[in-house]
Amino acid sequence: MKLLSRVIPSLLVAALAAVSLSASVDAKAAKASKAAPLTDANIAAIVLAANSIDIENAQLALKTSTDESVKAFAQMMVTDHTSVNDKAKALAGKLKLTPVGNAASRGLVKSTGAKRAELAKLTGGAFDQAYLDNEISYHQAVLDMLDQQLVPGAKNAELKDLLTSVRPAFVAHLDKAKETRAALKG
C-alpha cells in the first residue's frame, strides 16, 4: 500500500472506492456507484478499460524506450492485454452484455491518463524506471481490484471464470515488471 500511495495514488482509490474520486469524476456517477453495487456490465467496462490502459502505456514505452528488456516487457503487455480484451469482448458478445462505464472505470481512465501524460515527458533511463514503477503499481492495483471487487461482484459464472483465469497472467506481469525494474541500472 505504501508503494501504491506513493506512485499512483489515485488509481487504487478510483478502483476500490469510487466515492473518493467524486471530486475528480462525475459526482452523480460517483454517487450512483456508491449506492449501487457493480453490475456485470460495469465489471466488463472496468476489465476493458484496465486492459486498454496498459496497452496504451506499453505503446508509449515501445515508442520511447531504447532498453531491450523494457521494450520486451512492453510488447508482452500489448500482446497479453490485447488477447485478454479480445476474450472479454467475445464473452460480452456471447452474453449480450453491453459494457457500461461507471465512476470506477471512468476514474481509472482519468487517473491513468494523467500518469501517462507525466511519463510522456520523460526519456531514457528516467522513463524506463518511471514506466516500470507504474507498471508494478498498476498491476498490483488491478489485482487488488480483481480480488476485492470484480471477482466477488461478478454474477455470471463465465464472467467470473474469465476474471479468475486472467489473474495468474497479471501476477506474471507484476513479477516480470519487478524483475525488469530490478535489472535496470540506476
Binding site: 508482452m76 497479453d80 488477447s83 474469465l162 483465469s165 486472467v166 489473474r167 497472467a169 506474471a172
Partner: protein, 143 residues
C-alpha cells in the same frame, strides 16, 4: 528433411502429407546427428483440430496450458508417442525447449502444437513469454 514455418500465427509443416520427415535436433549449441526429438505435423487450429489420435500403436499425451501453467508439468512418453500442448489460456504462449531443440513459436489461445518422441532423454521446456512457466518431457528408452 522438412522445414517448419509459421502460417497465420500457427505452426505448419511443409512436409507432404503421409511422408514423415524427421528433422533431428540436438542439445544447445550442437545439432545432434543422433537426433533427440522428431517434429511431425504440428499445427492444429480451432475446435476439432488437434484431437486426432497418435499413430497406430502409440499414445497421445495432452498438456493443457491454462492460467499460466503447463498441466501436467511432467509427461513421460515412449518413443513414437505424441505429445500435444493445447493453449486454453487467455494469452499466447510458447512451448520452448531449454536446449533450443524445438520451439512452438507463439501459440494463440485455442490453438495447439505437437511433437513426436524419438530418442530417450529428459527435456525441460518453458514459455518464452512467461518465463516462470516450466515443464518437462521425459522420453523412455523403449516400450
Amino acid at each position: 528433411m522438412r522445414a517448419i514455418r509459421e502460417e497465420g500465427g500457427a505452426i505448419r509443416t511443409t512436409a507432404r502429407r503421409g511422408r514423415r520427415a524427421r528433422p533431428r535436433v540436438g542439445p544447445r549449441g550442437a545439432v545432434s546427428a543422433a537426433g533427440l526429438v522428431i517434429l511431425i505435423a504440428v499445427a492444429a487450429l480451432g475446435p476439432g483440430c488437434g484431437h486426432g489420435s497418435a499413430p497406430r500403436g502409440h499414445s497421445l499425451h495432452v498438456v493443457t496450458i491454462r492460467r499460466i501453467a503447463f498441466a501436467p508439468p511432467l509427461v513421460t512418453l515412449a518413443p513414437g508417442d505424441t505429445i500435444e500442448w493445447r493453449n486454453r489460456d487467455l494469452v499466447p504462449h510458447t512451448v520452448s525447449a531449454r536446449n533450443d531443440a524445438w520451439d512452438s513459436g507463439s501459440l494463440a489461445p485455442d490453438s495447439s502444437w505437437r511433437l513426436v518422441a524419438s530418442q530417450a532423454g529428459s527435456f525441460a521446456y518453458f514459455c518464452r513469454f512467461h518465463t516462470n512457466m516450466h515443464g518437462t518431457v521425459a522420453i523412455a528408452r523403449s516400450r
